[in-house]
Symmetry: C3
Subunit: 259 residues, 3 copies
């Protein structure tokens, strides 16, 4: 079975950056199987990338190598990292990209990338995706071990992610992400409600009397609140764009009173 290498970045594909990474990987490990996950992460948005990774990475077969390059600190002294998290392997800058995944899974091993054999002969100051992370992924795919990359590291950089909290019958959270369909996804997990249902509440000037199970439970054009595919509370409009119509944005606070 060929080794899978997934790619996630904020590079877009109008520039040759992703293409150059693919070339470097395949030149060094032609039998690797490259799978694009996204190159549309918002520019330099480490938090969005962390949400993305937490939403998909551990669906892949054990041993998959995930290269994640959202790297505003490229060229600074931030570390390059190889890590095993659960059964997945990651190659990325040490800037908090794994924070959300690590709420659910453990770091089995993590090493800084310092071995020149895991890099191109000449490493630029501005494009470690091509010069460090791509050749490191190829080295792992070709059979290299994590600990060949460099010294073990313990203290991965973590993002400060807003957490939902429950206090008595109150749940306080916030919108974390607006998705492609305009659905507004919060950090309130199904487990925060413990099976209880909320009192009617208001968000974006719209009143929500109850939680739905599916978008289609309300008429076309109506808004609904439901636990989405990741089991987080989200706001949607059946057949429409909730973020636009209700002016929902990341960071907006959400307060529920449970019955």
């Amino acid at each position: 079975m060929p080794t899978l290498i997934t790619l996630t970045s904020d590079f877009g594909t109008r520039d040759p950056y992703v293409a150059a990474m693919k070339g470097v990987i395949l030149e060094r490990c032609p039998e690797a199987q490259i799978i694009d996950l996204s190159h549309d992460i918002a520019a330099q948005d480490v938090f969005e990338a962390a949400l993305f990774i937490a939403g998909c990475a551990d669906r892949f077969p054990p041993g998959t190598i995930h290269v994640v390059v959202v790297d505003p600190g490229v060229g600074s002294d931030r570390r390059g990292l190889v890590a095993q998290v659960g059964f997945q392997r990651f190659v990325c800058p040490d800037n908090g990209l794994l924070t959300l995944l690590l709420q659910r899974l453990s770091v089995e091993a993590a090493h800084a990338i310092t071995n020149p054999a895991f890099m191109l002969p000449k490493v630029s100051a501005t494009f470690h995706g091509r010069d460090v992370f791509a050749p490191t992924a190829a080295a792992l795919a070709a059979g290299g071990a994590l600990d060949e990359a460099g010294p073990a590291v313990q203290d991965l950089v973590a993002l400060d992610i807003p957490q939902a909290t429950r206090s008595g019958q109150s749940v306080s959270g916030a919108i974390l992400h607006i998705d492609h369909f305009g659905n507004a996804i919060t950090n309130i997990h199904r487990s925060h409600l413990g099976g209880a249902t909320p009192e009617p509440f208001e968000i974006g000037g719209r009143r929500f009397d109850r939680l739905c199970a599916t978008y289609g439970e309300v008429p076309k054009g109506d808004s609904c609140a439901l636990f989405g595919s990741g089991d987080y509370l989200e706001f949607a409009i059946n057949g429409g764009n909730a973020a636009e119509d209700l002016s929902l944005v990341s960071g907006l606070e959400v307060e529920l009173q449970l019955k």
Copy 2:
């Protein structure tokens, strides 16, 4: 030869939805070869997806599995479907996505997806791409038969697609689609003209004296009407964007008088 699985959706790639589908497929069938067709179908636009599929699916090798997820009815009682159309296999919601392809090819077999072994253990109400269609595709790629998915179905949902008509020397049709280059593509097929040529006609305030064979037959910046790569009449501007410059939109009627 690895089994090909193509993916078409309206998910975009900024969210982890497509990535999660790829993970599910590869986790269950690591030897599948995934080919992205599009994740840029307009949100919830089943008609655009139907045009897309009709424009490419039967170019693939026999047995290719096409997963098509444009699914505004997810979570409702709309059926999930596996179907063989011509030599291609499809995994998609039963919402009319195959309508245009079926104007040219026949359904050889179609089954509802009801077998839990073709789904993830837990099926969400909002993301059947990941929870139903991806594992179904993996099951087929791993050797599963269509009729293992569930009971045979006969009456596939069909979209009501506007048809061009010919009456005597008149041909009536409409613009169905504006493409990435701003070319406006109609539902008037070359065969509607039966070899005849139209009288000069007007669209978008521009007069067309004749049909061209190529864009380059008119000077840069001039508009032309021609039969495009699918043998449908289209309007284009050599080196420009006809839809913008001539205010052409989907639904605009086109009337020709043949000489």
Copy 3:
């Protein structure tokens, strides 16, 4: 090892054009491995495509087949081309797409595509990506030789690319490209400076006192000038978008006086 076929185009992926090309390739050569490079080249922008290709193509393993379809002259008498440049193979219209790569690498062989066996049975006037270039790539991947495509050609079409020049202690160049991050990349190569450093200079109303080595050398929000990952002078804003904030556009002249 399966033969790699990369795809680069200005087709976007909302229309079925790229998907149809993939189908044609895989139908004719199922063991080919298709790698998307970009379908987001600006519409009909041969120069942007030439920059793209020069920025990535020779990173790939020897023998890789690069299909590049940015083809404003489709249907005219512009030639279709197969070429070996360095160790890479190209299938593309003869419209200058290889100009920038050829500043660094040599054409080893080039042939016009005239052999009908390298095309679909019916060739449209508007979509040679599907009807000529895809089947040609499949023919090469299946073992075909360049000279089976058609007669050798010598005089490839070349774009007129603005070159930076050095005269004494003056270097004159221009911005060639704005990338996805808003970095403005010039045609002034590190070698034009020959190790010298420039006097303070002004671009976009902003004064640059020196060249940096990394984006992070200046505080967040500040602009910097540095040699980027391709060793060309570029202007960036740490954590921001230089093109937007400094009103930088392609074509803007850049003059340096060396100390």
